[in-house]
């Protein structure tokens, strides 16, 4: 019997969708291994209702550890303690920064194997095998584990599936490591900049580092205006971290996941962290002067050229076309 443990990320009473996806996937795999999927919550104020609700996504046990949320050290200590209580072969983290951090820490602590950016999991010969895309997603490596297998999934890799019903929450007492006592979350989830809505737009004009400045977002505004309707402007993490655009309008790993009818990237390189948040767009257009940019590997229409001359002219041409 091999059980699978899942770290359940949560914020303001809601379980992260990626954690729900990880639990559903774990439940399916555990079924094939003849075991169960269990979930671990770490936080100061996790309610019975929140933690118990993970049973509705396939977990048969929910463990709760009281500690500050938002950093990896208490998570490693919590999972380490729960692993000692049962027969666990694997730990899965849904997509997210903490998954990479706590996953690496836990694999090091337990002498296990670590798989990151995992997009698929399957059972072969009674063991879980993880699929890891490499080289700009042009190839997928299969990774097996010796000892504990620690799996940090890519964002949006696993979809939540409702099955089962709420479970009783078990509190676990954990002796925390010194390192956990040396980390303090001051603020969590701060929203910087205006509250913009990019998730309901049918056309998203996205500005990246190649736009060059906050002022140059007017180029993106002009193109979005030309499309009209529910077109909106969004940004990459690089542009947001540079202070050019509000965080609420950021696409990618630490931002929003979007699926517009049309995505237009302006000076967007197309790093994996961005791609995971927009690859479901129906049509992807990229304008970038760097012909080696990864976005050209997955764009439906790629334009290698200077966006500053092309985009204003394109906006005019679209307006003319619409009449």
């Amino acid at each position: 019997m091999t059980n699978i443990l899942v770290y359940a990320l949560h914020h303001e009473g809601a379980i992260n969708k990626n954690s729900l996806g990880a639990v559903s996937t774990a439940a399916k795999l555990a079924g094939e291994l003849g075991g169960e999927a269990h979930a671990v919550f770490v936080g100061e104020d996790v309610s019975d209702e929140t933690a118990g609700s993970i049973g509705s996504y396939g977990a048969t046990k929910a463990f709760r550890v009281k500690a500050q949320a938002g950093v990896s050290q208490p998570v490693v200590d919590a999972l380490d303690a729960v692993l000692d209580t049962g027969d666990y072969g694997y730990v899965i983290f849904g997509g997210g920064l903490l998954g990479f951090e706590a996953g690496a820490g836990l694999a090091a602590r337990r002498g296990g194997g670590l798989g990151v950016e995992i997009t698929g999991l399957k059972v072969a010969d009674g063991k879980v095998v993880a699929e890891r895309p490499i080289l700009g997603d042009t190839q997928i490596s299969d990774i097996a584990f010796e000892g504990l297998g620690v799996i940090a999934a890519r964002l949006n890799a696993f979809e939540p599936v409702e099955s089962g019903s709420p479970v009783t929450v078990e509190d676990v007492d954990v002796t925390f490591s010194d390192a956990a006592g040396k980390v303090e979350v001051v603020t969590r989830g701060e929203q910087r900049g205006a509250d913009v809505n990019i998730e309901d737009a049918s056309v998203l004009v996205t500005g990246g580092r190649g736009l060059g400045s906050a002022e140059n977002f007017s180029v993106a505004d002009g193109l979005a205006a030309a499309f009209g309707g529910t077109a909106a402007v969004a940004a990459t993490r690089a542009a947001v971290d540079a202070g050019w655009f509000p965080y609420a309008g950021q696409i990618g790993q630490t931002g929003k996941t979007v699926a517009p009818k049309l995505y237009v990237g302006l000076g967007v390189s197309g790093a994996i962290q961005h791609k995971v948040g927009m690859q479901s767009a129906d049509n992807i257009v990229a304008i970038n002067k760097d012909g080696n940019a990864p976005i050209f590997e997955f764009a439906d229409l790629g334009v290698v050229g200077d966006l500053h001359s092309i985009v204003p002219a394109l906006a005019e041409a679209i307006k003319a076309k619409k009449g």
């Binding site: 820490g105 670590l114 701060e190 257009v285 997955f298 002219a313 619409k322």
Partner: protein
């Protein structure tokens, strides 16, 4: 006074077409190499802490684990401003996974006993984002990754980063392992003089035995995440590509493409 250790890595140059050895699943690391671009931000962060006096730093030490060619990455690191460098190189390291590499780096760091370890948030080739966190665990120190702002006050670092729900601000007590994102700073360019002088700065080359590293925990021997095969992702139809030579013609092609798909 304290010391900062910066973890660096040699990666294939961005312009090199990367490939995987189909018999081992390992990245073919032949071809032109360079210092991992993310690591230049870690070196810059170390230099800024040293120069501003925010931390009383007497030395910045660059450390790498890798084949003989990785010396070039160390030369680059010292040309950017590191004072000296350490190269762990040994046939027994070939095939190390992220956790094994983290263990080896932690052992090297223990020899130096720094007040702060800085790293780039990811390597340009493996892209695991994980080695910093593994190193922190082996050292028993707090660790944070993807940090884009660092303020030091005595023995406390206040760090900012983007996490799952927005910007987080976290305080950690030194010593700590901090992996920085590329938004943290704009790395300087090395001067010609610094490039020429890089080979004269101390470079210590160590084997596993020299460094007292348990060979059973690294390389093939210590590998716990094992490559078992490769597959091709589902084929996606190749996109169209326009090389812009004439703006009017380019715009017309884009409009036609959009119009054909009823996107205007």
């Amino acid at each position: 006074m304290t010391k900062i250790v910066v973890l660096v890595k040699e990666v294939p140059d961005a312009a090199v077409q990367k490939q995987v050895d189909s018999s081992t699943g390992r990245l073919d690391r032949s071809g032109e190499k360079t210092l991992n671009p993310f690591d230049t931000h870690a070196i810059e962060a170390a230099l800024q802490l040293k120069e501003s006096g925010a931390l009383e730093v007497d030395e910045v030490v660059a450390i790498t684990v890798g084949p003989s060619t990785a010396v070039k990455a160390l030369h680059k690191a010292v040309s950017l401003g590191a004072d000296r460098s350490i190269h762990l190189t040994d046939d027994g390291l070939v095939g190390s996974d992220v956790v094994g590499t983290g263990y080896a780096l932690a052992e090297l760091i223990k020899r130096e006993n720094p007040g702060l370890v800085l790293a780039g948030q990811q390597s340009d080739d493996g892209q695991s984002y994980a080695v910093g966190a593994a190193v922190a665990e082996y050292l028993g120190w707090p660790g944070l990754t993807q940090v884009i702002k660092l303020d030091v006050d005595g023995q406390t670092i206040t760090a900012e980063r983007q996490a799952e729900y927005g910007y987080d601000t976290v305080k950690v007590t030194l010593p700590a392992v901090i992996s920085v994102g590329d938004a943290i700073n704009e790395p300087r360019y090395p001067s010609l003089k610094a490039i020429m002088g890089a080979k004269k700065k101390p470079l210590e080359s160590l084997s596993l035995g020299d460094a007292g590293i348990d060979a059973s925990k690294v390389g093939e021997a210590g590998r716990k995440a094992v490559w078992t095969g490769s597959q091709q992702p589902p084929a996606k139809a190749a996109g169209e590509l326009i090389e812009d030579e004439d703006t009017a013609a380019t715009v017309e092609k884009i409009v036609t493409w959009l119009d054909d798909r009823k996107l205007i």
